[in-house]
């Protein structure tokens, strides 16, 4: 389970961000998590709460937006959603898709702070 490592990296990053803006009172952290990122959403929610203890982010909420897997189909020249994460092919024409457009994100999108 590397979600704890991911959570710790997030907290370090957000703390730094907060300090560079003169100290923010963070209520919630909004993140984008690709379903093909190798990071599990539930495990990350659990790890985040644990990792926040004793940090400036203690008590903050983590809001995760799941980003679907989208590949680019060279034959159709369009972005396509493959049938599953283990069938990386175009659902329309069946061409295998080598280029991933979205689905690998592990990103902090925004912070909800006390105004």
């Amino acid at each position: 389970m590397h979600e704890l490592s991911i959570a710790i990296s997030m907290i370090d990053q957000i703390t730094e961000e907060s300090e560079s803006r003169g100290g923010l009172d963070v209520e919630a952290v909004h993140m984008k998590l690709g379903i093909f990122s190798g990071v599990d959403k539930e495990a990350l929610l659990f790890a985040y709460e644990l990792a926040c203890e004793g940090s400036p982010l203690q008590g903050s909420r983590l809001v995760i937006e799941s980003i679907p897997l989208v590949i680019y189909c060279d034959a159709c020249q369009k972005d396509r959603t493959p049938p599953s994460v283990y069938e990386l092919s175009c659902p329309e024409c069946g061409t295998p898709g080598q280029r991933i457009v979205t689905g690998r994100e592990i990103e902090v999108a925004s912070l909800e702070v006390v105004a």
């Binding site: 590397h2 990122s37 190798g38 994460v85 925004s110 912070l111 702070v113």
Partner: protein, 228 residues
């Protein structure tokens, strides 16, 4: 209590990615071909690496970093092939990251190494998120594990460049369906190169040596071109 939104839009593993990029740059400048190895525990990573090191050491300078949660056993095994082996003991951490690699390389003269292998912790989940600066990533799948591993762990197979099917000497006894395994790999990583090997008998190893020599030649060639 009113709140406001502050845009951040930052990759969580930015630090790792930046460090990995710097490492990749350094490997290119020094002319070292760096290959990462990932697989589940017990798929024969160390046996395969032992054969790789011994085979390549005949005409090249080789080195390896090996990651494990605990023990120095793997490093001791690999030192039979080359003294240039360092163990990275991660403690409770289930993957290697770029910082561990940078630290482990301390005082090594990369310009005197042709091939550097980085054996990750045996784990098909966590290592997929961390770039280590390697030029190629090999994912190993043993004939005894079953042919549906790629479908169960699509992320790591997709993030790798080459698939190596190991323990092919046991394929028949394990009723391993090679065609299905190849189909499954193709499904999660279209176009991926696949090699079938047995580290025990040596079957199939030559093709991997050839791939690595071609990769090294290509990297050195582009390096020379960049210098001119």
């Amino acid at each position: 209590m009113s709140t406001r939104m502050v845009e951040v839009r930052a990759k969580v593993l930015k630090q790792n990615d930046l460090l990995a990029r710097a490492l990749r740059e350094r490997f290119r400048t020094e002319g070292t071909c760096v290959v990462g190895l990932v697989s589940s525990p017990g798929s024969g990573k160390t046996a395969f690496l032992e054969k790789l090191l011994a085979g390549l050491a005949r005409d090249s300078r080789v080195a390896a970093l090996v990651g494990d949660l605990a023990t120095e056993n793997d490093a001791a095994r690999l030192r039979r092939a080359t003294p240039n082996v360092r163990q990275i003991t991660t403690g409770t951490i289930c993957h290697l990251d770029a910082q561990m690699i940078e630290k482990a390389l301390e005082s090594w003269r990369l310009d005197r190494i042709d091939f550097l292998f980085i054996e990750n912790v045996g784990n098909l989940v966590c290592p997929s998120s961390y770039d280590l600066g390697e030029e190629l990533r090999f994912v190993l799948l043993s004939a005894t594990e079953g042919e549906d591993k790629p479908l169960k762990y699509p992320t790591i197979f997709n993030s790798s460049d080459v698939a190596i099917i190991t323990k092919m000497d046991l394929a028949e006894a394990a009723e391993f369906d090679l065609a299905a395994a190849r189909r499954n790999i193709e499904s999660v990583r279209p176009g991926m190169q696949v090699f079938e090997v047995s580290a025990k008998t040596g079957t199939g190893m030559q093709a991997v040596f050839d791939l690595l020599h071609a990769q090294l030649a290509r990297e050195r060639h582009s390096q020379v071109a960049a210098t001119i």
